[in-house]
Amino acid sequence: MYTARSLIAVTCLSLVAPVSEGAANVVRTPQSEVTLVSEVAQAAAGRRFWVGLYLKLRPGWHTYWTNPGDSGLATRIEWTLPQGLVAGTIRWPLPARFPTGNLMNYGYADEVVLLTRVSVLPSVDRGAPLAIAAHARWLVCAHICIPEEGRFELRLPLAVGAPVLDPRGRRLVARAEARLPRASPENARYAPNRDTLVLSVPLPKETTGAMQEAWFYPLEYGVVDHSAPQPFRVTADGVELLLTRGERRDDALEHLRGVLVIRHRDERQEGFTINAMRR
């Protein structure tokens, strides 16, 4: 028993141990392979660029969106940056649903790139390569959940003029950018009832014309029941969803925030950031 437990402890340690520098800037576990990518090989002062935490998961495993749903945990990244660099918050690609019984999780299977924008101030010290360090912690779950973490570092020289793209990084970032939600449609509204919320989102005909499915992913916990069906109907100027209220019955909630994902009949997906004012 003792030996078994020590073995488990050692395995756990090796799962979370930082990986050596340079090309081995990858964390590999039985469940995942995670690395930090940049769209530029050389950064430029006064410009900004995307970096991405690139998570590849073994089949059957998933990781989480910013609101993980009924269980799970959102990925966190802490940045350590030289003076003159500023990192934004994670920009989350459109999530998917992972139901288990009557529980619902929101997240990603297969692979995902979590984007963060890095700005290089004009005042940056041009003497040395930029050392961009990230401490990332993520949870992967199948039937069971395993917390994983990694420390990653990118060293990017400063270009003399314009930034120099990194082809592979740019490709991955572009794919993730295409999966980001678009800006919030104006005049999205929601109306609270006793047990439901009706969400109305104005959308162009191109979007509503071939809709197969619509799903609203709430940003906050408890406002919307994560697992309840979300019947929708196409209206003259957009779409209306009937949401079931969650555990929090906050009638003072001014804005219903989240992401609306629309799946078309050809399987294409479109997503919109939603910031719906209360009617």
Binding site: G72, R76, T100, C141, D195, D225, T244
Partner: protein, 217 residues
């Protein structure tokens, strides 16, 4: 072009027709859910469950005492954070010393993570110096489903009149990092103090965070 637009029209019409029906179904479904699951301010569902020593417990028998329900799974990394740091046990000791009935509930189905026999549950209690009043074994998930328990941990507090007064997370810092226990605001601790001081619970519904409860679906 023609056939596809016809399909679309049918599709839309079908949705229009089904809307009131769906609404009705949802409302009914919602009522059933609200009845089956729990809501703060409502009587907590009664239950009967056997503990790790084979003794039967019902909620009713504890009328007059504060009751804490703690969903747990000893293999879950979120649970390990709170037991590895003595956070959960310290709260159990403090609460039970003040007369609170603390019931840890294991709803993992046989073969699923966290499922244990009564003996295994007892040795876990001993090993971890845990101090619940009892560990309830709920392998069929009946108590779990009655309360809508989603995560381990998932915490509930029931007042002396049998009314649910708290449901949600153990604290305000969803993570598996042991360090976070030091700085997190422990909602259960705060709620128990408020109840004992005769005050309303300031955060009565919070986000539960953790592993999913390993029900057998």
């Amino acid at each position: 072009m023609q056939p596809s637009s016809r399909i679309q029209t049918h599709h839309l019409r079908a949705m229009r027709v089904s809307w009131p029906f769906v609404l009705l179904a949802l409302v009914i479904g919602g009522m059933q859910l609200a009845g089956a699951a729990t809501a703060v301010g409502k009587p907590a569902p009664d239950f009967s469950a056997v503990d790790s020593n084979g003794k039967m417990h019902t909620l009713k028998q504890y009328r007059g005492s504060l009751v804490v329900l703690e969903w747990t799974n000893d293999q879950c990394p979120f649970v390990r954070k709170h037991y590895g740091t003595d956070n959960m046990q310290a709260l159990q000791r403090e609460a039970t010393a003040q007369g609170v009935v603390w019931l840890s509930v294991i709803s993992s189905a046989p073969g699923m993570q966290g499922y244990v026999s009564g003996d295994e549950a007892n040795s876990l209690t001993k090993q971890r110096k845990a101090a619940p009043t009892a560990v309830l074994l709920d392998p069929k998930g009946e108590v779990g489903h009655a309360y809508g328990a989603k995560t381990t941990p998932h915490m509930y507090i029931i007042d002396r009149e049998g009314v649910l007064v708290y449901m949600g997370g153990i604290d305000d810092t969803p993570s598996t990092d042991w360090e976070d226990v030091k700085t997190a605001k422990n909602y259960v601790h705060v709620a128990l103090n408020e109840i004992m001081a005769g005050q309303p619970v300031s955060n009565a519904v919070t986000r539960p965070y953790g592993c999913s409860v390993k029900y057998n679906y």
